[in-house]
């Protein structure tokens, strides 16, 4: 099912009587989701990603804009008639019902000509349970399951009614680190095998990057960038996206462009730029450095952290906007390090230049 959001805006009335300004949770959001795609809504908390999910589910109504499922305008359709499957952050499994009863719950709601027999329901529940590999646990209560199993039950409950779209709200946030890795692969697998259009919300960039076909980066209700994960990482639209994505985070510097040359401090680090002169923000990915004793960019060496395959060089520079500069280089480079200074060559594709005020990417 193709999903389209057209200029969707959601405003909340102000709670503060003295300041009657509205809170804008989502602002002018337009997005087209291909049938069968897996979309990750990514952003820091309070960025409007959960609100967007609620707008899609119908639990909340947009203030402006339209939402389409395929060709149907569902903007005014209440949640119960939209046919979406929603997996809540805390799973919201009914604690007094068994796994099987939880999964069949949505099916029992059907009335009239869609009404199913008990046998049909059991079959559908079992089929879905097999898909998420919990068919052994059908008679347990949710409290007798681990977090990962509970989540599978929640996904099964959302999938059993063959939803038009599947929505997942922070699906992995309640799981421990190991289970999180495993479960995100699992979500990808389930999504592939059912082919259901899926939107999931997360604040964890790894999660979003690793399994999404498309990620939407949001902040303060505004969409900053929509694109394939690698694209968004390699070509951030603005400073926020560049800073938000990547671990360790991108290194920030005060820079200067003069005659097509980029300077950090007095060091010319990149040439032949077709940019106007002026002050700029420079962002360099940790993997954008290579150690070269005659390199153009010299920093004060602070310490080296060994990680096995790579080493992380922590250094400082007077024009750095962060506390320190972190560069990830291959472990072999350790031989070249000596003294209190370290010099780098910079990989042009890992250096991004942003306009000072607007944060827009210039290069």
């Amino acid at each position: 099912m193709k999903v389209t959001l057209q200029n969707v805006t959601k405003k909340y009335p102000s709670r503060n009587k003295k300041q009657p300004s509205e809170v804008i949770a989502v602002k002018d959001f337009s997005l087209e989701i291909e049938d069968g795609a897996l979309i990750g809504l990514l952003g820091p908390s309070g960025c409007g990603k959960s609100t967007t999910l609620n707008l899609l589910s119908g639990l909340q109504k947009p203030t402006e804009g339209r939402i389409f499922f395929g060709e149907d305008d569902v903007t005014d359709l209440p949640a119960e008639n939209r046919g979406v499957g929603l997996v809540f952050q805390n799973y919201a499994l009914y604690p007094h019902l068994t796994v099987k009863q939880n999964i069949t719950f949505p099916l029992e709601n059907r009335r009239g000509k869609d009404k199913l027999t008990r046998k049909q329901m059991d079959e559908m529940a079992l089929e879905t349970a097999r898909l998420v590999q919990i068919d052994q646990l059908m008679d347990r209560k949710p409290s007798e399951l681990s977090g990962g199993q509970q989540q599978r039950v929640a996904i099964a409950r959302a999938l059993v009614k063959k939803p038009r779209i599947l929505l997942l709200d922070e699906p992995l946030s309640n799981l421990d680190a190991r289970l999180r890795l495993q479960t995100r692969e699992e979500i990808r697998r389930i999504q592939r095998s059912t082919g259901v259009t899926t939107v999931f919300v997360t604040h964890d960039q790894d999660e979003a990057m690793s399994i999404s076909d498309l990620i939407v980066v949001m902040k303060d209700g505004v969409v900053h960038q929509i694109g394939k994960p690698q694209e968004v990482y390699d070509q951030p639209a603005d400073l926020f996206v560049a800073k938000f994505l990547g671990t360790p985070p991108i290194n920030m510097f005060d820079g200067n462009v003069r005659d097509g040359v980029l300077y950090i401090g007095e060091q010319a680090v990149q040439r032949q730029l077709s940019l106007p002169d002026g002050k700029v923000d420079v962002a360099i990915r940790p993997e954008g450095f290579t150690v070269n004793n005659s390199g153009a960019f010299t920093c004060d060496l602070d310490r080296i952290e060994v990680m096995g395959r790579d080493i992380s060089i922590v250094s400082t520079h007077p024009d750095s906007l962060g506390e320190c500069i972190r560069s990830i280089v291959s472990a072999d480079s350790i031989k070249e390090l000596s003294g209190a200074k370290v010099s780098f060559d910079l990989k042009p594709s890992k250096v991004h230049i942003f306009e000072k005020d607007s944060g827009k990417r210039l290069y």
Binding site: S57, G58, L59, P78, A79, E80, N81, R82, V84, G85, L86, F88, N90, A92, Y94, P95, H96, L97, F105, P106, E108, N109, R110, R111, S143, R157, K161
Partner: protein, 297 residues
């Protein structure tokens, strides 16, 4: 370990002493009295030991009347008050405007004195030479003949007592139930909504099981409270409850001890033990039934 044990007992001591002196000792004493024939407080003596007191009480028409009244009261008011309270609580929970005002209004009877409320009910229901009472006036509007609810036929008096009891126990139930309803996590309702669940089904399959521990608590305490009813009857019909045919078991026990025909601690004890057994049985049945229907999370 031994030291720890000693400390533990030391901490428990105040409670044990208190409960022992004022709960366990009297309970055992009452049990003993109930088997001592013609026990006399003044001389602290009895004429013998046996089941005579029980036999007397169980054959006393006043006791049988009190037993019947109490059972009617329990059977009518406990289910009725719980259901009405549940209905009002659910309604209150879905109201947004003026909700706090309504909550306060519904809670008012709880902080009002039983006897004062009884007086109000008298004014509403009692027939005097000067007035038929407000209820009779209203009945008159519908063309019905006036009924003497306080001094008239048995069913009318029972009706007033039931209405009064339901009214007086409701506020507490509403208070507890609205609290319990508010504590149900809203995401369950959202989950049900996304799955297209009808309102009735949400109530039956989600709300009811979620609040079932509270509901069960209210039913048990409701039963116990109704079996111990006494002050309500006094508030409406005065202290001569036997004459008014409106006595309850606790009223009978009181009369046996201190009433105008009183001074029979043995009979009172036997009646008290019978009441104890009834309440114990009903509570056990409740517990057994609840195993199947109450969901503790």
């Amino acid at each position: 370990m031994k030291n720890n044990n000693l400390k533990g007992w030391l901490y428990l001591l105040p409670a044990i002493l208190f409960l022992g002196a004022f709960l366990v000792y009297p309970l055992i004493d009452v049990l003993i009295y109930s088997f001592e024939e013609s026990f006399n407080f003044a001389s602290q003596s009895s004429t013998g030991i046996g089941g005579f007191n029980y036999s007397y009480v169980l054959h006393d028409p006043y006791f049988l009347k009190a037993l019947r009244n109490t059972f009617i009261l329990v059977a009518v008011t406990v289910p009725l008050s719980t259901m009405i309270a549940l209905f009002i609580s659910v309604a209150l929970s879905s109201v947004k405007k003026l909700r706090e005002l309504f909550q306060t209004v519904y809670f008012l009877p709880y902080v009002t004195n039983t006897l004062a409320v009884g007086l109000v009910f008298m004014i509403l229901f009692k027939q005097t030479p000067y007035s038929d009472g407000l209820i009779n006036v209203i009945l008159g509007v519908f063309g019905m003949s006036p009924v003497d609810f306080i001094g008239g036929p048995y069913w009318a008096k029972m009706l007033v007592l039931c209405v009064y009891t339901v009214w007086i126990v409701m506020p507490f139930k509403i208070l507890i139930l609205t609290g319990s309803l508010a504590s149900v996590d809203n995401t369950y309702y959202n989950a049900a909504k996304v799955d297209g669940t009808s309102r009735f089904r949400v109530f039956r399959r989600i709300t009811l099981p979620m609040i079932s521990p509270t509901l069960f608590y209210l039913i048990i305490t409701g039963f116990i409270g109704a079996f111990k009813a006494y002050s309500d009857a006094v508030a409406l019909f005065g202290t001569q409850l036997n004459a008014a045919e409106m006595n309850t078991i606790v009223g009978y026990i009181y009369d046996m001890l201190y009433g105008s025909s009183g001074g029979y601690p043995s009979y009172a004890s036997a009646a008290a033990i019978i009441l104890f057994c009834i309440v114990l049985t009903i509570t056990c049945i409740n517990l057994l039934v609840s195993k199947k229907h109450v969901h503790y999370s």
